[in-house]
Amino acid sequence: MSEAEPVKSIVTPTRLEYEYTAVGAQARFLDEISRGRIIGQRCPQCRKVYVPARGACPRCGVPTAEVVEVSDRGTVTTFCVVRVPSENIHLKLPFVAAHILLDGADIPFFALVGDCEVSEVRMGLRVAAVWAPRAEWGPTFANIRHFRPTGEPDVAFEKFKEHL
């Protein structure tokens, strides 16, 4: 028998390699963000604006054709402070992952919040996109590096409570 330590764990990697093709509403979103514009689509029935749009309203089940440009400023609706390292995250810990409701949108999307202490991030915090240099823009979310606090007054909970 070997004197070595008994085996206590094994590595079981899981890897799926896709070639993802975006068409329709998603492609249009990527095309516009490559020019620094964030667009969504408005549902013809419930009038909600989805960003990024998928071409249909998930609530009403109808196609969303009307394109709406939304702001690159918004409100943190909910967030978490990430303090646990992960092999595929290369950000300095701790950092904040947040749901941000852009002005003009009716659904929050996921982004990082930076340029402040993690303790300063709160629900209702007003933030603005920090864009990568224009020369680096492409058809990708990565054009927005993160969001930073704007210093505007916080938004009252009642104003965004349906978007948590």
């Binding site: 028998m1 070997s2 070595a4 008994p6 085996v7 206590k8 764990s9 094994i10 590595v11 079981t12 990697p13 899981t14 890897r15 799926l16 390699e17 896709y18 070639e19 993802y20 093709t21 975006a22 068409v23 329709g24 492609a27 249009r28 990527l30 095309d31 092999e87 595929n88 058809p139």
Partner: protein, 152 residues
């Protein structure tokens, strides 16, 4: 990129990857430690069945299974499926068989790879033996594959 009808499309690689590290516990830990020593280990239930890979509990009664027994290293193919065109992630770069192999002394069969060279050499009931890799570390791939016992 613009398609013929003016519609914009974009394509990009999308890779979903999780590098899980999984605790194996005392029983499977013994199995993997055995592999590192080029030994195959199973567990025996109270009724006398030998389970390989080992189980912590008797699947028939739910009782704890604590007695370890050495099995193999050779065994018998109980069923198999030939892979004509291996993918990049398959364990062998040439056509091979996925097979259930009941090791000598075991009552259950274990999934592994048989490097038979060609599908015509595969048959249910064939005798196979493990081919160990040069450097064993305590995981299932310490067995590179099984190969037919009777020459190549």
């Amino acid at each position: 990129m613009a398609a013929a009808d003016g519609e914009v499309t974009f394509s990009a690689p999308h890779i979903v990857e999780y590098a899980y590290r999984r605790s194996v516990g005392a029983v499977l830990g013994r199995f993997f430690t055995g592999l590192r020593e080029r030994k195959l280990v199973g567990t025996r239930t109270r009724a006398g069945r030998v389970l390989v890979p080992p189980c912590e509990y008797d699947p028939d009664t739910g009782e704890s299974v604590a007695e370890f027994v050495d099995v193999g290293p050779s065994g018998v193919v109980t069923t198999w499926a030939w892979v004509h065109a291996p993918s990049a992630k398959h364990p062998l770069p040439r056509p091979f068989a996925w097979a259930l192999i009941r090791l000598d002394g075991a009552d259950t069969a274990m999934l592994h790879v048989v490097d038979a060279g060609s599908e015509s050499r595969m048959r249910t009931g064939m005798r196979v033996r493990p081919r160990w890799r040069a450097q064993t570390v305590g995981e299932i791939r310490d067995i590179e594959c099984f190969e037919p016992e009777t020459g190549r």
